[in-house]
């Protein structure tokens, strides 16, 4: 992690690859071109073709590894195909069940009412989707007694689906569908296979867009934010639950030790998959911190962009509105 020479703020090295050049350059202007020539321009063929900062254009981070943009989506897809079967078990073990509290708080913050059209991106095994359905049922039970023909009446019959879940990984969707079946809310959820950077929905379709623990895996986060803005109706809300940076240094040290020493070992013992869980903890480190991500929301056009820390900054809920 580097310290910005201008303002003294901590800056993640991986941030370069995720912030758009406009945002990056306005805050951290590059030094003059002469002292930034990378070594590779001395190769004969590339002297005039090499861009000054190729990192921003063609390659990105995959955990601590550097990969091409075009490769990252495939690698992320592979990770989730592999972890899908033990995903929920591992979540419970790695966070000692606390991830359930985070998700409960997330859905409570969203404060739904029945009839809301929601898109849950990277919704995989359905944790958020099931909570959204339950939350809407709760609200309809609490607010109105059922009148004939009222929206609540239709919902209690299990009418049109309320929640659309989108995920890159077919295996994760399969696990989610099975769980929905066992909870008897099959009809309330629509499962779509797709990429957050290219949502297969028309403009202004949804009242709310949620993404929980998914956005850090997207290759071009700003593209996903633009897409989110596009598919939201005016007045719609964007909500993101994601791992973030812990401000307190002692806790941060403990958290880092736990992340890197314990989590891949658990992945190896329970899921026989060290590498996927190593990617998981590295990708958390590569994600922008709370304030930087809030700025990214503003860049994408969201208003009233705010964040709330959970568990001392281990995760954060980011929220923005489209007006």
């Amino acid at each position: 992690m580097a310290v910005c020479g201008l303002c003294g703020r901590r800056v993640l090295d991986g941030l370069r690859a995720t912030l758009r050049p406009a945002v990056w350059n306005s805050r951290f202007p590059p030094p003059s071109p002469t002292d930034r020539l990378p070594a590779r321009t001395f190769s004969s063929s590339s002297l005039f073709l090499t861009k000054i900062s190729p990192q921003e254009e063609t390659s990105t981070h995959f955990g601590f590894e550097t990969v091409l943009d075009t490769e990252k989506t495939g690698k992320v897809h592979q990770v989730f195909e592999q972890v899908a079967d033990t995903y929920d078990l591992m979540n419970d073990l790695m966070s000692a069940g606390i991830h359930r509290l985070w998700k409960d708080q997330f859905v409570r913050t969203l404060a739904l009412f029945p009839g809301t059209k929601i898109l849950d991106v990277a919704g995989g095994t359905g944790d958020i989707a099931f909570r959204l359905v339950r939350s809407m049922d709760e609200t309809s039970r609490r607010t109105k007694k059922a009148k004939a023909g009222s929206p609540t009446d239709k919902l209690e019959e299990g009418g049109d689906h309320d929640v659309t879940v989108l995920d890159l990984s077919e295996s994760m969707l399969e696990v989610g569908k099975k769980r929905a079946l066992s909870l008897n809310i099959e009809s309330r959820i629509k499962w779509v296979h797709g990429n957050a950077e290219e949502l297969p929905f028309p403009d202004a379709t949804f009242d709310a867009y949620t993404i929980a623990f998914g956005i850090r895996n997207v290759t071009h986060i700003e593209v996903a934010l633009d897409e989110a803005y596009r598919v939201l109706k005016p007045g719609g809300r964007f909500m993101c639950l994601e791992f973030s940076q812990v401000p307190n240094p002692l806790l941060a040290w403990l958290y880092e030790k736990y992340s890197f020493q314990v989590i891949p070992v658990m992945g190896q013992l329970i899921a026989s998959d060290w590498k996927s869980y190593q990617y998981l903890v590295e990708s958390i480190r590569m994600f922008p911190d709370q304030e930087d991500f809030r700025l990214m929301l503003e860049e994408a056009g969201f208003q009233m962009a705010t964040f709330t820390n959970l568990s001392q900054g281990i995760c954060a809920i980011h929220s923005g509105f489209k007006f």
């Binding site: 020493q261 314990v262 891949p264 070992v265 658990m266 190896q268 013992l269 026989s272 060290w274 590498k275």
Partner: protein, 261 residues
Amino acid sequence: MTLYSSHIPTSWFQKSLLTLGSGLGAFFNPTRDEFIATFGETTSNQALVFMRRKMVEDPEGRRILRDRPLINSQTLSSSSLRHSPAESFGEAYLKFLETNGVSPDSRKRVQFVDDEELAYVMQRYREVHDLIHTLLGMKTNLLGEITVKWVEGLQFGLPMCVTAGVFGPVRLKPKHRQLYLRTYLPWAQEAGRTSRFLLNVYFEERWHQDLCQLRKELRIPDPPNSAATNPYDVSLLYRTDKSEISNTDFIFEAENRRIEN
């Protein structure tokens, strides 16, 4: 930094956690081989150094370290294994694979050993484990596995083998436990002490060697369950129902496909 393709560097803390977790896992769930594999890798550094030294001191072992042969379905299908004569070691191995439903590809790659040559020694140990089963005439049930682990533990000193030999019998059913205490354990101790260092045997060169003659050469005493039966009828050693041994072409699928194409 990674020393070989499947290498995952680990700190001592991670190795301790892995040892604890995989040890418990292996005890409560011995059928899952990744627990035993992980436990073996994290605990065997000293033993691997000893094993490598024994290999370096022997001419056949030196050739193995130099050639670094691997045992998987590809290398086996292109070897002379399928043409092994009757009652040979190769034929016994094929029958062993068939009747116990084991594939030579089931061995995982070594991940947690932090030395490249020692990682090969570990990989070699893993891959010849089935061959040692064949040599010792042991089935892949718990009793057979414990017996093989005793022999390997006495010869190689691998902690994983020693703990399997000591703690494994706790899970034996009463009948097998009697057999173990009365017959198999003393036999395993004798075999472990008198036989030649089994990692120094270049098995790939010995497919056509007669099984009994190979056992004599390696000073392996006759397996306990063959005492009352014909020592050449290897099929009786591995299955109680004497069903017809079907073709072993599943191993040579790769070879067949190559020939057809």
